[in-house]
Symmetry: C2
């Protein structure tokens, strides 16, 4: 069996790694450099619990299972490569700055309690005892002990190395022009490398893991075209003193989140914009992030801005991932992870590999098949 | 006569150009690339009138005379080089957004009127008729028809070319280690180039035009050491559509100024910080600039941030420039221009060249001699 994977982000790479571990012949095709799009842009929060919003209950079982897998996934990746991936599990807080914020947070917290999530309410004093440099006038918060983070850029580096060690062929700077579908099943990929020479790569299985670019891949029948669009997020990183960090936990504040890394980076994210693939860092986006972060953590005032960037979340029509088989035999989908790509990496890799090996989608990902969108078309 | 100039910013270069035009042998010594420090960081406002603040009345005659010289200086520079320097004279506005701002602006305007400056009060409607995209809720403004701008980076490029054409030796990447002073008069400079080899450059006249770095030059007698320090300013540039610019005039708003360039850049400046030579772009500085600009001109929201940078104003003890001769024969000072270096370039060049040729400081710069600071030492 030959598997071709379109997209060298964390989703494509982790599937490739797991398949290669089983002795499958795998090739990854990546337009640019592996993991330099959404996988690179992400903040790496593992927040299955605290991020649960009213419309996202459907994702919870998958998200929680993936979060449960993360410690072992990280440990195995580190063992396989000798590289650190910055997994941290000291818990995450969501804070309210004003009374209005507190009302909203109470509403979300009530939802979380109805869902039996392990999240507890904290007084302002309790928040400040955990993070003393947060705005001392804050009005309260919640603590989610099971939510943490991983350094997604380190994960990318480790996955690339693990894939190579396991024998995957990683083809960077190689664009997939078209999936070859013959008699209702995939036959391979037409690709174009640096040299602009087209080549055909035969494959029994094609995994679509092209994130926000998934819709642009040609050759699929209309019913397999993916309702995925780019959802732009602007972000920035400040530089803390790693020996005396201003923050230790991942913090969700009104209008932004703050993710402190062990190396002293403090990541601030993120805008949510429908702007296609526009890569500009805007005045308004940067202002909103800095203003939100400064209100939560006034001590950022004198911190240097180290980097500003943006990325494109692969957003599906219902913001849930699109996973599993399709009408086109041999075509497997692993895209549309929206803002949960890092979190969902271990479960996606596991479930997709099970699906490929067994030929039928594993139970946990059945709600996320492409077929769910067909129901919305009048008969 | 051989003249050695320490510093290849607009001040050093313009003096060099004028001297070379008179047939004097001139060498410029620049630690890095010419004009890449304060001359590059500046916004290029020519605002002798509207920028006059309560403590700066003493600068007004010099500033107004320099502003009067600018059109001819720009025209001559453009003729000599074939390069455009972006001189614009459509006037400058200072706007008040709130009633409090308006009170403050009225106070400043009263000062300007007592000084007989050609500046007129504008209603909010009159401000908006000139700049329709300013915040429509603004409370008023003033208009200074004689204040404008020049593109300081284009001025740098033109001055370098003009100097070379006129026969100046421009030594970039060459650090001045020490001024050689023998028997109370300058004898030359000890310099060190790329190759780390020291060399002695003999000179009859040494012009100190090293801006914020002026104090660090060794070899001068204690009484000639310069009370100049770096005053950090952070800035950024947004990208407008040059065919439909959001702004046409230079605008002073509360907490920031906005300088639109003909190429579509919109420069926003500047913080004023006592941070030594720290070059970091901070969260607080960027937030303050974007917030100030957004309140004045809400349409910046979607504009891309094109560049962020900082520079070091050479600030003297009284914020006024230090110009002319000293006790050390042959040593001429042209530094400490603080936030007025671009504005004061033509008059500085003119007056310093007159001083060098005649041997005595020209009338207009006498109030700015280094000797003024001696009076503060108890006898």
């Amino acid at each position: 069996m030959r598997v071709a994977i379109i997209g060298g982000g964390v989703i494509g790479l982790s599937i490739a790694w797991r398949l290669a571990q089983l002795g499958v012949t795998v090739s990854v095709f990546e337009t640019g450099i592996c993991g330099r799009e959404a996988s690179w842009a992400a903040a790496g929060m593992l927040a299955a619990h605290i991020e649960t919003e009213p419309t996202e209950e459907g994702l919870l079982p998958l998200a929680r299972e993936s979060q449960r897998l993360w410690p072992d996934f990280a440990a195995e990746l580190e063992r396989a490569t000798g590289l650190n991936v910055g997994y941290r599990a000291e818990g995450t807080m969501m804070v309210a700055l004003t009374r209005d914020d507190a009302e909203k947070l109470r509403f979300t917290h009530d939802l979380h309690r109805r869902m039996d999530l392990p999240i507890s309410w904290l007084s302002a004093a309790e928040v400040l005892s955990r993070e003393p440099y947060l705005n001392p006038r804050l009005s309260g918060g919640v603590f989610s002990p099971l939510d943490g983070q991983v350094d997604n850029r380190l994960v990318v580096a480790a996955l690339v190395k693990a894939c190579r060690s396991a024998g995957c062929a990683i083809n960077e700077n190689t664009r997939v022009d078209r999936v070859d579908v013959t008699d209702g099943r995939v036959a391979g990929l037409h690709v174009q490398g640096d040299d602009s020479v087209s080549a055909f790569y035969p494959a029994d299985i094609v995994v679509m893991a092209a994130g926000a670019w998934s819709r642009a891949i040609q050759g699929l029948p209309t019913r397999s075209r993916l309702p995925v669009r780019p959802v732009k997020g602007q972000m920035l990183a400040l530089r803390m003193d790693p020996l005396a960090p201003l923050l230790r936990h991942v913090i969700w504040a009104p209008n932004c989140y703050l993710v402190p890394r062990l190396d002293g980076r403090l990541i601030i994210g993120a805008t949510t914009e429908e702007r296609g693939f526009d890569r500009s860092q805007t005045a308004g986006g940067t202002l909103a992030l800095l203003d939100g972060a400064w209100r939560a953590l006034p001590g950022i005032e004198e911190l240097p801005i180290e980097e500003m960037w943006c990325g494109f979340r692969p957003g599906s029509r219902d913001d849930l991932p699109i996973l599993g088989t399709t009408d086109t035999e041999g075509l497997i989908l692993a895209t549309g992870h929206h803002r949960n790509g890092i979190l969902l990496t271990p479960i996606t890799a596991k479930a997709i590999v099970e699906t490929i090996i067994s030929g039928t989608p594993s139970e946990l990902i059945r709600p996320f098949s492409l077929a769910r969108f067909e129901a919305t078309v009048p008969a």
